[in-house]
């Protein structure tokens, strides 16, 4: 796909003297992609597919880093450096926000790099100190695409470092979560240390325990037995006061807030076991529970760590969203225009936004006329005309001409930022979601506590001397361990397998909800359709095509993109004059002929005759008509539109067969939505067009309110910031391929593969995952029932309870790991 894109770009840069097609494929020295015919230099040993690759090669070879070209695995992506100056990286406001000064006087920042993906990227990025003098250290975290850069600010400005990274094909973005990342890193390390300490204590405790059990069987002198018991006690105390304190304080918080929490029985059992164990140690007889307790602390901490890591993934994605949002603005001042960081913008400032740029803030146009693509906010794929006095919004794209804008709202108060805040509240609102296991664990907690008290009282009344032992045995044997592990483990396994299939799932709760059929709300643009304007119908002779392409070559309008993608590799004639006509299209002179391309009304002005072949041509009303006139004669009529994805019909049928209700929800004009509805067989009331982000959010809420039962999930599938609030508000939000980063930050699930087939796979996988979870729950509940009965009847001692405890956990672990979730053959899932 990349190759074809390149081929399209060639005519822009290729010298017109080399129009021959390459007989054989020449691959680029830097990125190994095929070099387009126009760029092949005859006889040269080094060939480049684009100037970006050539620059990158120049930098590397000048610094003696040719070794890069010896690596078997290199990134096969053409270097598309933005060529930006990155001056704003040196601005004091930027430095305040993102750069920290180390005690040594050096500066340090974290940059999010685009395009990082393999070992050679690490090698290359970490050689930046060799490429740019003044850089002291560069370290890349591949998984998060974050580079830590340390440099001497006196020797080199950050903008130079940024330009080097950009030239190598890794455009840098400031990473806004530095402070939060620090806090998080500290938490992570503390958690790891706790797990390590708990693990070391638990395992060493086992050695003492083994000696004691062996001693019980073979007979061991009581002074040795006592020694081992005291050693166990000595080991347990640090396990309690350090790693185990988490549970004790959790239980304390649970008591204070009067909300039952799984920490409570754990803490009660830990405390009871510890007190009893200590008493028995002092007395020199009776069971000590220290080995079980230490192992329990370790196992529970590991479970908690896994859960925490899952939650981290979600917030990571949110930070990346911020990292790719526009970071610079062009501020207009009395003495000219200069770049400043977006964070420095304030209401009242004047900014300039060139064609093809994204608005950095909300504001009012004070000068210029242009067209704005607000798809990011509204989902409307056709650009709207703006002029003096029109409102424009941050995050939307200026398509046609430069504009001067007076800033009204910047940063946190801009419309897109408020949308993101809504998203965050929606995300927070869903956090206390009642998961199956948590629900059960709540009841479980209460009943275990109650039962242990009953056991203690009843068995004391009945005169059993072991009453306390039995109560403790109950608390230990019924530890919610297996119950607590059942859900997270099965989900972790399923999420890992799903990721291998290109389905990235952020929250396990999403899987749980997808397992039952509900209502599926689909965004149209980019989800059900390709999401970009494509040439659908062309009525006209072939000789017109190069003329059209030549005139459109300099335009970033979606229509121009549509033409370029439709006819790659055409040889273009020279354009001698071209002009962008407001609200209409393009006019220009190509090879001495006057050409107009654009809206029918605009082209008609210049037309005095029509090619007879075009007489009876009518276009589907959902397509955008584009007329082409050459020297006053209408010669071609094209229809452009957003095409429906190939697999949409089949996938929708499969989803409906599984019991899902499917609906279309789009910001696009109702006519376009209606035609898609008809083609894809949605029921008559299941399509809504012209929906603003607010309306989509409201619709999701109304759907949620009207659902027949709480088990009926409302799922939103979309791919833009405009869907973000709706996606976050839905029970399950799914971002599809090509979606804006913002969408992925709020979605529970991101499908990396295009089309709707992965949706079907997802739903099928979710059902199977729930089956595994249910099986796990049955095992652990069954185990707990049997264990509780045995403990209450005094059949098992706390010692046996502590030995039995891991049995259920291990069964659940194995069951989760080997359970079939997303590994099923594609044949079943695509059915």
């Amino acid at each position: 796909m990349t190759a074809s894109v390149l081929a399209v770009e060639v005519p822009d840069t290729a010298p017109s003297t080399a129009p021959r097609r390459a007989a054989e494929v020449v691959s680029c020295t830097h990125c190994t992609l095929p070099v387009p015919a126009g760029l092949v230099v005859a006889g040269a040993s080094r060939q480049f597919c684009c100037t970006g690759c050539e620059t990158a090669f120049g930098i590397l070879s000048a610094s003696g880093l040719d070794a890069y070209y010896g690596f078997p695995e290199r990134r096969e992506v053409a270097v598309t450096g933005s060529g930006r100056g990155y001056e704003e990286f040196d601005h004091p406001a930027f430095t305040d926000l993102y750069v920290r000064t180390l005690p040594s006087g050096r500066s340090r920042t974290e940059l999010y790099l685009e395009g990082v993906h393999c070992a050679s990227c690490v090698w290359l990025v970490e050689r930046i100190p060799l490429l740019t003098t003044g850089v002291v250290r560069a370290e890349l975290d591949v998984r998060r695409s974050l580079a830590v850069v340390e440099w001497d600010p006196a020797a080199v400005p950050l903008s130079v470092i940024a330009r080097t990274l950009d030239a190598l094909g890794y455009p840098p973005h400031p990473f806004r979560g530095v402070a939060r990342a620090d806090v998080r890193r500290r938490e992570d390390r503390a958690m790891l240390v706790r797990i390590g300490v708990a693990g070391a204590i638990a395992i060493n405790m086992m050695l003492a325990a083994l000696a004691l059990y062996a001693g019980d069987v073979n007979g061991m002198e009581s002074r040795y037995t006592n020694f081992f018991r005291w050693v166990s006690l000595g080991l347990t105390i640090p396990a309690f006061v350090w790693p185990g304190r988490v549970f004790l304080s959790g239980a304390w918080a649970s008591l204070r807030t009067r909300a039952l929490h799984m920490d409570l029985p754990i803490a009660v059992a830990l405390a009871a076991g510890f007190v009893r164990g200590t008493m028995n140690t002092v007395r020199g007889e009776g069971p000590i529970y220290f080995d079980g307790l230490a192992l329990l602390i370790f196992a529970l901490l590991v479970g908690r760590y896994l859960q925490q890591r899952g939650q981290r993934l979600a917030t990571d994605a949110a930070e990346l969203l911020h990292a790719v949002a526009p970071t610079t603005a062009r501020m207009v001042e009395a003495d000219g225009v200069r770049e400043v960081p977006t964070g420095a913008l304030a209401p009242g400032m004047r900014i300039e936004v060139l064609a093809g740029e994204t608005f950095p803030a909300d504001g009012i146009v004070v000068d210029g006329r242009s067209q704005v693509n607000a798809a990011l906010l509204t989902g409307e794929s056709t650009p709207a005309t703006v002029s003096r006095g029109s409102a424009v919004y941050a995050g939307t794209l200026n398509v046609a001409a430069p504009l001067r804008v007076c800033v009204e709202e910047a940063g946190e108060s801009s419309r897109v930022a408020r949308l993101m805040q809504q998203v965050e509240t929606s995300a927070a609102r869903r956090a206390p979601v009642v998961q199956l296991a948590n629900r059960l664990a709540g009841y479980f907690t209460a009943s275990v506590l109650l039962l242990s008290v009953i056991t203690l009282v009843m068995r004391t009344r009945l005169g059993y001397p072991t009453a306390l032992d039995d109560a403790i045995a109950l608390l230990i044997v019924t530890c919610p361990c297996a119950l607590a592990l059942a859900t997270p483990l099965a989900i972790t396994a399923a999420v890992g397998r799903a990721a291998q299939r290109g389905l990235l799932i952020k929250g396990g709760d999403a899987l749980e909800r997808l397992a039952r059929p509900g209502t599926l709300l689909l965004d149209k643009t980019g989800t059900v359709t390709e999401g970009r304007v494509a040439l659908v119908v062309w009525h006209g002779p072939d000789w017109v095509r190069p003329l059209v392409l030549a005139l459109e070559a300099g335009s970033s309008h979606p229509v121009a993109d549509g033409f370029r993608r439709a006819w790659p590799g055409l040889e273009l004639p020279a354009v001698s004059a071209s002009q962008h006509m407001m609200g209409g299209g393009l006019e220009g002179t190509v090879e001495g002929r006057m050409i107009r391309i654009g809206a029918p009304r605009f082209v008609q002005e210049s037309v005095h005759s029509t090619d007879p072949l075009l007489g009876g041509v009518t276009l589907d009303p959902t397509l955008t008509p584009v007329h082409v006139a050459v020297d006053g004669q209408l010669v071609a009529v094209a229809g452009l539109g957003d095409q429906i994805r190939e697999d949409a019909a089949e996938a929708l049928a499969a989803l409906r067969a599984r019991g899902w209700r499917t609906e279309l929800l789009s910001g696009d004009a109702s006519t376009a939505v209606e035609s898609v509805r008809a083609v894809l067989d949605f029921s008559a009331d299941a399509a809504r067009g012209g929906a603003t982000p607010e309306a989509k959010l409201a619709y999701v809420f109304s759907r949620t309110a009207q659902r027949p039962s709480p088990d009926h999930p409302v799922v939103m599938v979309g791919d833009g910031v405009n869907d973000a609030a709706a996606i976050a508000a839905a029970d399950v939000g799914i971002g599809v391929h090509g979606g804006a980063e913002a969408c992925l930050a709020t979605a529970d699930i991101y499908l990396t593969r295009p089309g709707l087939t992965p949706l079907v796979e997802l739903v099928a996988g979710a059902e199977r995952t729930m089956r595994v979870i249910r099986r796990n729950l049955v095992i652990s509940i069954g185990y707990n029932l049997v264990g509780a009965t045995l403990a209450m009847t005094g059949i098992i001692t706390p010692l046996i309870a502590a030995i039995l405890m891991p049995v259920a956990s291990v069964t659940v672990v194995l069951g989760s790991w080997y359970g079939t979730t997303f590994s099923a053959p594609a044949a079943e899932t695509s059915a």
């Binding site: 003696g64 880093l65 070794a67 690596f71 393999c118 070992a119 050679s120 690490v122 090698w123 970490e126 060799l130 370290e139 890349l140 975290d141 591949v142 998984r143 890193r185 992570d188 390390r189 790891l192 240390v193 390590g196 300490v197 070391a200 060493n204 050695l207 003492a208 002198e221 040795y224 020694f227 050693v231 080991l235």
Partner: protein, 48 residues
């Protein structure tokens, strides 16, 4: 058998050393990024 009085504290001392080493490594950030070092070593640092 009385050798346990010597051996057990010794073993625990060793464990203590290992735990301290682990705490040090975790606190100095060696566990922060577990993916990159695995690919970093793929390429020899021959030049300069």
């Amino acid at each position: 058998m009385s050798v346990v009085y010597l051996v057990l504290p010794l073993a625990l001392l060793l464990v203590g050393g290992a735990v301290l080493a682990f705490i040090w490594s975790a606190r100095s950030g060696q566990m922060d990024d577990l993916d990159t070092p695995a690919v970093r070593m793929l390429h020899d640092d021959t030049e300069r």
